[in-house]
Amino acid sequence: MDAIISFFVQPFSYAFMQRGLIAAILVGIVCAVVGTFIVLRGMAFFGDALAHTILPGVAVGYLVSGGARETLFWWALGTSVVASLGISALSRNSKIKEDTAIGIIFAGMFALGIALISTVRSYAVDLSHFLFGDVLGVTSGNLWTIGIFTGFILLVVLAFYKEFLTVSFDPILATTLRMPVKLINTALLILIAITVAVAMQTVGVALMVAMLVTPAATASLLTNRLPKMMVLASIIAGASGLVGLFLSYYLSIASGAAIVLTCTVVFAVTWALKSFHSSQSRL
């Protein structure tokens, strides 16, 4: 019995594991809630692109501060807000199709980020932290930032729930009801941008789209109500953070990858059970 308890408790006797766990759960929840809108509105590619686009901003912050990590969040936040508004403006006004425009900006910015980081000698290690996350390197200062912005995002979603819902489901109705549709859409883009900055350290830019869409997509298989979908997605993402950290600790695998893989397995199992169930009920 003691062995079982210590199996579960022991990893979290380390302070960095505790901080990592809190960060993984908070980031999981905020990604899941915002990700629900990303899934419903078909914005997965936009979310993926936005995550990659912040790399040059993070790289500049990294070079300016001489390798210190504390200020990187603010660089990530600034870049992602500017990039989200830039991408949406460009894809709206351009003759080029939206996904093509996103693809061009996203790859170009990502390459710029890699080029900037490659000027530093310890480039391989640092780059992998930005790309795949470093949840075990979260400081208590980082944790405060993550907590405050997670709270802010959840409050905004709660306060403007009916606006986000109406604009996502039926923009024409929202217009006839004289809702500020453009403003609401912009607010949603900014929420996604903040989420990307908050999640950067935990899962990294390359894996972030998984946190944004996989738990929300899993929840969409399980319920037909939006509030339930948000709660379920949050639970799935938070639990995946916990399980992922266990796997990371005992199997010595990268923590960001372990969390994302757990989300993916949960999705795959849910999808398989769901398909099996519906093929059964059709017989």
Binding site: L40, A159, F160, Y161, K162, E163, L165, T166, S168, F169, D170, I172, L173, A174, T176, L177, R178, M179, S220, T223, N224, R225, L226, K228, M229
Partner: protein, 204 residues
């Protein structure tokens, strides 16, 4: 031909009134969106609610009343993809009622519905009429237009006729509206008009 202008609704200038409801074509809706019938009808209340607020008791009452009017109260908790075509149409009419609309605009509301569903929707439009709600319907069905509606606006890029079905539905006007597509057949002294609307382009 004028290309811009101003529309007044019940004497109100643009931007004044939230009394118009638009009912989308069924193909424009994401039916797998995670909302049930009552959620969709509640969206009509969004303009009546204050910012930062959640639905009040009065809002729920308005939703239930609207659902009673369209006879969907028993399906309030259904996911919207589980509705039949006629029920989907009635749900959007309930949303317009919850919005307290005085003018409802519908784009081909009967297309793709079977006859009983069409009759259900038409009966509902009659109920709306009695509740002093004006309904504007775009349709290609000449027979339904003249049977069920008080006034007809015949359009082909410009207004060809506006008035009661008797005034508007003359052979001459219909020929003008439908051009070569309309076949006129003389059957035992009665004139029969046939609209060949199977394969026209998207310009109307």
């Amino acid at each position: 031909m004028p290309t811009s202008g101003e529309v007044q609704v019940y004497g109100n200038k643009p931007g004044k009134h939230v009394c118009i409801a638009y009912i989308p074509q069924r193909t424009q809706v994401d039916w797998h969106f995670p909302v049930n019938v009552s959620d969709v009808v509640m969206m009509g209340r969004a303009a009546k609610m204050k910012p930062f607020s959640w639905p009040s008791h009065a809002d729920y009452q308005a939703v239930n009343q609207a659902l009673d009017t369209v006879e969907l109260r028993n399906l309030a908790k259904r996911q919207i993809s589980e509705l039949s075509g006629g029920q989907q149409q009635r749900m959007f009419i309930a949303r317009a009622l919850a919005q307290e609309a005085e003018l409802i605009m519908m784009d081909e509301p009967l297309s793709g519905l079977d006859t009983p569903s069409q009759e259900g929707v038409l009966a509902l439009l009659e109920t709306l009429h009695q509740k002093h709600v004006t309904v504007m319907v775009a349709t290609h069905d000449l027979d339904q237009a003249s049977t069920y509606f008080d006034r007809i606006l015949l359009l082909n890029h410009r207004i060809i006729g506006f008035g009661s079905p008797k005034e508007v539905m003359t052979t001459e006007r219909l020929l003008k509206a439908f051009g070569g597509r309309l076949k006129i057949v003389d059957a035992n002294g009665d004139t029969v008009l046939m609209d060949d609307n199977c394969c026209h382009g998207g310009d109307d």
